[in-house]
């Protein structure tokens, strides 16, 4: 007789903790054939608000971490994901309705994507910075800096790789993140949050919400303490309204575009959540 398994409770990930939604709500996640999989938490606007507060308070620490250290911390996430391969393969397969073989390839790419972004942390300044030869006795340099708190509406179709791609791009330069996971396929994101919780990524640097995209995304788009928003997982019909709300504080808006998540990203993936700061100083004795 087989043993009855102990199921996992899928919860939100905010400020390093795993709360249920403050609203007490959950929603049903089904597989492709309509079979019940789980009841993850259904985040409310207040959960989104709490997540932004957590991300904001983690920002100075994370952006102030040395680039070398940030790189190591992100690399460690890849290490930890390797140790939970089976679980991720199972969940991606179940949620995205793809076979285990395909799912394993997705996982390989996802882990490799962490490694790729980990290696960027201490290169961005060299590639994107500059010393500017101004016409005067001044030393003048430009450096990339994280834009701040980034909201990610994760892609709906690529529940793990797509999410990790957006996370890596934002995190490697020192941003902190509030991510809204794929609505229909949230389980890999939640498992990822468990990986992050046991990694060296400080609490609050990544916050992951699950729930209804149409309900939560507008609260993130209009939130005045969010600096940038990636609308990757938003339905095309909703983009205009969300982008409009995002202009209330002139968030940097990254519109959705059709994307092959398995391809190596371009620099733009990272520059879209960077600012450039230019500093002047006189040269004299």
């Amino acid at each position: 007789m087989s043993r009855l398994s102990v199921r996992k409770t899928y919860k939100l990930f905010i400020g390093g903790a795993f709360p249920r939604s403050e609203s007490g709500r959950s929603y049903k996640v089904m597989d492709k054939s309509g079979n019940f999989i789980a009841n993850p938490a259904m985040a409310s606007r207040k959960d989104a608000r709490d997540a932004v507060v957590a991300a904001r308070s983690a920002l100075s620490g994370w952006s102030g971490t040395t680039a070398y250290n940030r790189g190591q911390i992100l690399y460690r996430v890849a290490e930890l994901m390797e140790s939970r391969r089976d679980e991720f393969i199972e969940e991606v397969s179940l949620c995205e309705g793809i076979g285990k073989g395909k799912s394993a390839k997705v996982l390989d790419a996802a882990i490799d994507r962490w490694v790729w972004y980990a290696g960027w942390s201490d290169k961005l300044g060299s590639i994107l910075g500059a010393t500017n030869p101004v016409a005067g006795p001044f030393y003048n340099f430009s450096i990339p800096e994280p834009v701040g708190v980034v909201a990610l509406i994760a892609p709906q179709d690529s529940s793990l790789l797509g999410l990790i791609d957006l996370l890596g791009a934002a995190l490697t330069s020192g941003n902190t993140v509030v991510a809204l996971a794929s609505e229909k396929a949230p389980l890999p994101a939640i498992t990822l949050s468990e990986v992050l919780a046991t990694s060296d990524v400080p609490a609050g640097v990544v916050n992951i919400l699950t729930g209804n995209t149409k309900e939560v995304a507008p609260w993130l788009a209009s939130h005045m303490d969010v600096d940038a928003i990636n609308l990757a997982g938003v339905e095309m019909d909703d983009v205009r309204q969300l982008a409009s709300e995002a202009t209330d504080n002139l968030k940097r808006v990254i519109p959705p575009k059709s994307q092959d998540w398995s391809r190596t990203p371009t620099l733009t993936a990272m520059t879209s959540t960077l600012e450039v700061k230019t500093v002047w100083h006189p040269i004299g004795v």
């Binding site: 005067g136 006795p137 006189p282 004299g284 004795v285």
Partner: protein
């Protein structure tokens, strides 16, 4: 007097207090100071204000000859020029002083007195000018010789070597001793302390040396000997003017400033007056508080003066060359 100012600002008479005080002065940002001086250099002084500036500048000149080849004849000619700068125009002001080595002081004083130039002062460079590399005994004797010969102003040099090696106390003591040698009361010779800013190099040093000289009892702080380049650049004068301004704010005492060296054109001289006007204010626009050490400058001022009064350009044959 100097003792009062000194003790009001630094603790007692120990030299470590002096050193601490000078080190704690605000620094000067080179680019900012040069930028400010350059901006003031763009002031456009025209018509009536130019006429005023030219006459004011003439009245502030310490007409100078400091050559190994100086002779009584040369010095007498300079005295004649000082008394009557433009023989064709009696309204031309006289210069403030004649500035010579101490062996020429007697000649200058005697000749000035004989041609009606009693109001023109005789300044002597002293203290082993221009290098200042001699014992204090020699420097004191140098000073006394000049005063005995009739000098009423002493232009002393500081020991730049001592200053640059951090021995501020030695510089201070020399200045106070020379000041004592200048006498006392009504007849005391005025002391101008030459910083030789071209050898101090940084504006921070110029500021410290200015304060050091003022604390030690200088009546004037003077940029340069004229033997070292750069000399009286606009930013150096700006920093020195800031020092006298701040010294007045803290002690109530007005110290004069004398740029010397490199000021050859009317334009340069007017820039100096603009610096004074917009840094310490027009209170300082008097020969009592601002002098310009120069020789060839006077003729350029006279040419410009003639242009203003006649409306056409003049030429070198219409001013006197000595």
């Amino acid at each position: 007097m100097s003792g009062t100012a000194y003790s009001a600002l630094i603790d007692g008479t120990d030299h470590s207090g002096l050193s601490r005080f000078l080190s704690a002065l605000p620094t000067v940002d080179q680019v900012g100071a040069e930028g400010r001086a350059a901006m003031l250099g763009t002031r456009s002084i025209k018509t009536t204000s130019k006429a005023y500036a030219i006459d004011t500048a003439i009245s502030m000149i310490d007409l100078t000859t400091l050559e190994g080849s100086d002779t009584p004849g040369k010095v007498r000619a300079l005295c004649a020029k000082a008394v009557r700068p433009d023989p064709t125009d009696a309204s031309t002001p006289r210069v403030a002083a004649i500035c010579v080595y101490n062996d020429m002081v007697g000649v200058a004083r005697e000749h000035l007195d004989s041609i009606g130039g009693q109001d023109i002062r005789v300044a002597a460079v002293a203290t082993a000018f221009p290098s200042g590399r001699a014992s204090i005994a020699v420097k004191l004797q140098d000073t006394r010789d000049a005063i005995n010969a009739g000098a009423t102003e002493i232009d002393m040099v500081i020991d730049r070597g001592a200053f640059l090696s951090g021995n501020y106390g030695k510089v201070f003591d020399e200045i106070t001793q020379i000041r004592q040698a200048c006498g006392s009361g009504e007849t005391r010779a005025h002391l101008k302390v030459i910083l030789e800013t071209g050898e101090l190099v940084t504006y921070d040093n110029v500021r410290r040396a200015s304060w050091l000289a003022m604390l030690a009892g200088a009546d004037f702080i003077k940029t340069s000997t004229g033997k070292i380049s750069p000399a009286a650049t606009a930013p150096v004068v700006l920093v020195m003017l800031e020092a006298v301004r701040d010294f007045q704010a803290r002690t109530g005492k007005q110290i004069g400033v004398k740029p010397a060296g490199g000021i050859r054109s009317t334009k340069d001289a007017i820039k100096q007056l603009v610096l004074v006007n917009e840094t310490v204010g027009s209170d300082w626009l008097t020969p009592k508080l601002f002098r310009i050490g120069a020789s060839s400058l006077l003729n350029d001022l006279l040419l410009q003066r003639q242009k203003l009064s006649s409306g056409h350009y003049s030429g070198p044959n219409y001013v006197t060359l000595d």
